[in-house]
Symmetry: C2
Subunit: 221 residues, 2 copies
Amino acid sequence: MLRLTQSEENYLKAIFTLSQDIEGAISTNDLADKMTTKASSVTDMLKKLCEKDLLEYQKYQGCALTNLGSSHALAIIRKHRLWETFLVDKLSFGWDEVHEIAEQLEHIQSTELTDRLDEFLGFPKVDPHGEPIPGKDGRIEFVSNRILLSEATIGMKAIIMGVEDDQTEFLQYLNKIGLHLGTQIDVMDKLSFDGSIMIQMDGKQVQFSITIAKQIAIKPL
Amino acid sequence: MLRLTQSEENYLKAIFTLSQDIEGAISTNDLADKMTTKASSVTDMLKKLCEKDLLEYQKYQGCALTNLGSSHALAIIRKHRLWETFLVDKLSFGWDEVHEIAEQLEHIQSTELTDRLDEFLGFPKVDPHGEPIPGKDGRIEFVSNRILLSEATIGMKAIIMGVEDDQTEFLQYLNKIGLHLGTQIDVMDKLSFDGSIMIQMDGKQVQFSITIAKQIAIKPL
DNA sequence: TTGTGTTTTTAGACAAGTCTAAAAAAAAGT
DNA sequence: ACTTTTTTTTAGACTTGTCTAAAAACACAA
């Protein structure tokens, strides 16, 4: 079994998640953004991962994971979501506290551990953010019921499930306006000319730009 | 709070455990042995850790942890032993399977996680190998009841609790002769001229050199 | 199709942690 | 006290993953 560094694993995971939203190859800049690093560093890493047959890469053409790369990415995502479930279900952490710790735990190398943890948790199909947990074989049984706030329809009731890009700064902004994970919202209106969305929560009305609405994940009720 | 790399943490832990057996300063070579690395690498690291006030070090004089260094070492040992307890108690791993995984888990950075894990496990005082688990404040309440086989007296009955230096090669040797963690032994005889020790286990008699007996930890019954 | 701007790659540098080989210091033997 | 041996340190090199600055490739508009 190919042994990967934490950095290599993080790249694979980032490419995998970007691939779910972006059609076709992933560009160097998109990856650099996601990894908050420089494009030149990304190029170096892509060469290395390509060498190891984890992805396909050709100069100036972006990259795409091979089956081998995908299965590695899914294994990491599996670990991340199992650990998040453990932290919330067994250690009573809040949804918003577990991401950073799971980012560390996802790199622990031991298939045996992962599988026993899975069993200990009762083979959960979804993590605390409503995202599906890949099985031992990498298959995802469950289709995520998360959508982005930007995709919500008027009159919809939903619960805040998470944010796409969990930068501390953004989380702090949400905290300031009183929006937390688990908050229930009502979608009141969508302005057609700029895509702004108006919601009601805890009795007050709040308006978000389309940019922000694309960062907030909700689960319709 | 000072942020340490995995490598720095491993050095601190090694120095701490060596200090428990060795009186006075720890020599560069002893550390190199323990870390299975070269003396020159150790020297480099000692300079760095000294710079950070984690230990005292003077050329050719070996090193000793400062209070700051000790408290870091104890925090890592705490995490290691709590995770081992988790793996054995909650995920039903065997004593002999948990060390390597705990070596990884001990580097997870989150005091909150450690303390909640402690609570989840019911604030255990000893780990699965009979070693005491330092508390949140770094204090050790419990005195280990482990001794080395080399220190056993004739007629003593005991259980194999672990090995001092868990090199795979040594573990394989023990496996080959049928000695496992949890095996009950009777100390039959000690030869005074070379320190060899004769034990009985599962009905058969086995003889160990003093060198080997110093590597095997037992708990007297 | 040619110029302009953006994206991506190259080239060279740096920090961390390791190594080898050689020098320096300490310890031990006679 | 003078060798010899052992221990420890220095010096220089290598790897991984990152960076900056500059060059190359690409994309698109006039």
